[in-house]
């Protein structure tokens, strides 16, 4: 389930080139949707003064996460090695339950479908879904 074929990688890179200009918007909207549609995810952000999905901390965090995704695209040939530090961060400091990676990925795909309805074909969808799943796995690498 986690091996990206050459076709997958090409599809992801080509699609990312088309949408990367909107990366910040995708990040902000994905995170906001996650907080609204899956309220249990709010537990990770109890330390924010402003808890609202469209507040400043949420928007900033959406951008941070999406910058991570952009970085992962550039490391797509070896996600495990490329995301080693981020994995250690998530494993030892943040300790986000990996189930949440799937939740956020789903919301990213919903936002992408909204913003790019023509380009987000089923073929692109499957490649992106596989990529985000591989990303999640690489991020959870150091957990145990």
């Amino acid at each position: 389930m986690t091996t990206l074929t050459a076709k997958d990688k090409d599809t992801v890179k080509a699609f990312w080139a088309k949408v990367s200009g909107k990366a910040e918007d995708i990040g902000k909207q994905s995170l906001a949707r996650m907080l609204v549609v899956y309220p249990q995810t709010k537990t990770y952000f109890a330390h924010w003064k402003d808890q609202s999905p469209d507040g400043a901390p949420a928007r900033k965090h959406g951008i941070t996460v999406m910058t991570g995704v952009a970085n992962a695209v550039s490391k797509i040939d070896n996600l495990r090695a490329g995301l080693l530090e981020l994995s250690e961060l998530h494993a030892f400091t943040l300790r986000v339950d990996p189930a949440n990676f799937k939740i956020l990925a789903h919301n990213m795909l919903v936002v992408i479908a909204i913003m790019f309805p023509e380009e987000f074909t089923p073929e692109v969808h499957v490649a992106m879904d596989k990529f985000l799943a591989s990303l999640a796995l690489a991020l959870a690498e150091k957990y145990r």
């Binding site: 949707r33 609204v36 549609v37 919903v110 479908a113 909204i114 309805p117 969808h125 879904d129």
Partner: protein, 147 residues
């Protein structure tokens, strides 16, 4: 029993009132078969599913997508008792069709993506939450009679 606010009911009925079944049904099912290819296991008798193009243009898949989407109508009409409404269909999916209930979630995720693409920014986070709640109840009801 699942509680629905007035707003949630309105959201669901209004999405279905303007739903183009002939467009959304085929798109949702074919997307599911392409994104989660193992779901093709249930469609051995449907003809050519060899690649994405074949799936997208397969008339049997299109017809079935429309049928499945209309299957949601009864949940919309019986929102206060979706569990009972789908008891028979649940037995059918378990005993006759032998569909792994995990697949219901896969199809419902694809349906969400297709609806989002159709509705664009009017598919707000709040509407997404209600929509996903509705689908989760349907999925749960469909898996209820498995044993």
């Amino acid at each position: 029993m699942v509680e629905w606010s007035e707003q949630e009911r309105t959201i669901i009925t209004s999405i279905f009132a303007s739903l183009d079944y002939e467009d959304i049904g085929p798109k949702a099912l074919s997307r599911c078969l392409i994104v989660y290819p193992w779901t093709q296991r249930y469609f051995g008798a449907f003809g050519n599913l060899y690649n994405a193009e074949a799936i997208k243009t397969n008339p049997n898949i299109a017809a079935h997508g429309i049928k499945v989407l209309h299957g949601l109508d009864r949940a919309v009409k019986n929102m206060d008792n979706i569990k009972a409404t789908y008891a028979e269909l649940s037995v059918l999916h378990s005993e006759k069709l032998h569909v792994d209930p995990d697949n219901f979630k896969l199809l419902s995720d694809c349906l969400t993506i297709v609806i989002a693409a159709k509705m664009g920014s009017s598919f707000t986070p709040e509407i997404q939450a209600t929509w996903q709640k509705f689908l989760a109840v349907v999925v749960s009801a469909l898996g209820r009679q498995y044993h």
